[in-house]
């Protein structure tokens, strides 16, 4: 278990991380989500004992990071942002070197992590020659070589192509079954796809912290339905739709040919059958009706751009 209490770190006058507290239970995949410059990397750097905190503490399994950083470094596997590995080394040599420094008998263990991270075919290549995806996987192998209970990954999928992203995500999910994983990202779908739990930070503070599905359902309380019809102008559509119970507002949407409207619905009311009935009975032509995929994006935008200070409950 990792518990972080009141962690604070400034660079000069700039407070990168401001009084952050959270706990991570064993065997969870936690996503640290926030826009660029929110303090994700700084937080992870303090967790991995690269940076010292100005204030606050990181306690891993009862050991305070400030008292015994070497022990913590042994327990954690850390992959820094964009995997800054030694470019002039062969993949195999690099992993052997890390194993040696960590005091693990090398060859067999290197073979195992190469298997898990699927980098067997590039073991004889220079790290500089690798594609970003392979480089990232070598970085993962580097972080896992001592079989740590905790993996800390800083933006593990940034800069990868879509196929590589899916591969790395699957790998992380697989690892998350046995290990505690903390990863950071500014990409929302990533959190939804991989994490059990999400912590949203903005401007160095935690603005939301909950299980992913709970946050999603909180966001789901405000649904939006988009319809495109012909045979009626927006005013007519609006007055017809406003009558449905549960509809909060009807806004026009942009469409060159058809009449388009965004219908906001509060609560869990299901209004789509009613909308369809009205359109059918008025003999309008319906071209499209879709429920907006409400995702974490809404919360994320609200919390980070809107500058809301409260936490989502």
């Amino acid at each position: 278990m990792i518990s972080v209490n009141g962690l604070t770190r400034s660079y000069g006058n700039f407070k990168a991380v401001d009084d952050i507290s959270f706990t991570v239970r064993d065997g969870e995949i936690t996503g640290l989500l926030g826009p660029n410059g929110a303090g994700k990397t700084t937080t992870l750097r303090m967790l991995s004992c690269y940076l010292n905190a100005d204030k606050g503490s990181v306690i891993v399994d009862g050991i305070n990071a400030a008292d015994d950083p070497l022990r913590i470094k042994q327990m954690i596997g850390y992959l820094p942002e964009s995997a800054p590995l030694y470019g002039d080394m062969l993949v195999f040599d690099y992993l052997m070197y890390i194993a040696e420094v960590r005091g693990i008998p090398g060859v067999q263990r290197v073979g195992e992590v190469a298997e898990t991270c699927r980098i067997k075919e590039v073991m004889h290549k220079n790290i500089n020659e690798l594609s970003k995806g392979y480089r990232q996987r070598v970085g993962l192998a580097h972080a896992m070589i001592h079989d740590p209970q905790i993996l800390i990954l800083d933006e593990p999928t940034s800069g990868l192509d879509p196929i590589e992203i899916v591969e790395i995500r699957n790998l992380i999910k697989e690892l998350g079954k046995k290990k505690t994983v903390i990863l950071s990202t500014h990409i929302l779908p990533e959190v939804e796809a991989t994490c059990d739990r999400v912590i949203i930070i903005n401007k160095g503070r935690i603005v939301a912290d909950d299980r992913t599905e709970l946050l999603q359902s909180a966001a789901g309380l405000n649904k939006k339905i988009i319809i495109r019809v012909s045979g009626a102008d927006f005013g007519t559509v609006k007055s017809a739709m406003t009558g449905i119970s549960g509809v909060r507002s009807v806004e026009p949407a942009d469409d060159p040919e058809l009449t388009a409207a965004v219908i906001s619905v509060s609560g869990n009311a299901e209004v789509r059958p009613e909308i369809f009935r009205i359109i059918a009975s008025n003999n309008w032509m319906m071209y499209e009706m879709k429920q907006d995929q409400v995702s974490l994006e809404n919360i994320f935008r609200e919390l980070t751009v809107g500058g809301a200070n409260g936490t989502v409950q």
């Binding site: 004992c49 690269y50 940076l51 820094p80 030694y86 080394m89 040696e100 960590r102 005091g103």
Partner: protein, 236 residues
Amino acid sequence: MERFSEMSAIMRKELKSYFNSPIAYIVITIFLVFTGFFFFKDFFYFNQAEMRNLFQLMPLMLCFVIPAVTMRLFSEERQSGSFEILMTLPVTSRNIALGKFFAGTIFSAVMVSPTLIYLVTVVLLGTPDFGPVIGGYTGVIFLSAAYTSIGLLASSFTRNQVISFISAWAACFSLWLIDKAVIFLPSKLGFISYFGTDYHFQNIAKGLIDSRDVVYFISICVLSLMFTIKVIEERR
């Protein structure tokens, strides 16, 4: 040195990357071309088969060459970001600094070792006094270690290898210059020459291995390494 294996792993990795990069060979070549020129100049012009001139030149040569050897040790890691990986491995800063220091010193020793060929020609053609030769090489090792530690310190400050090189060169060169500058000072300040590397090196190169000179070089190493450790702990 509770975990010797960590330090030696880092040292061997640094040595390997020295010999994997062209810079090593360029530096060695430049060093040998210059020392070779100055050695054989006397050898042929003055028909002197002796090592003394080589050793007289060595402190100045190493001033230029060793900063080129050490400039990458930390700067490159800072530049590429691998510093973060190094610092999150379960290794003490002391072992990191020592590993890099020994790698640099060993590399410098390897760089100087081809000059032993000059010694062979001297033995074949003349009758060298082995005291100064042994003293000279011992002095070169101590001097290299001292300059390497200064270069390591300069490298730990910056991510820019050029700045690292120039500041290390300036520091080494000033230490070489100190005992030459003493003639401009009142005689009361004559003790300042004790701070010069050349003063101590020439003592050892006479074949007189005095503990004072050895202590001088070792204390430069220890001081620089202590500051290096402090710098890498603080500057992240």
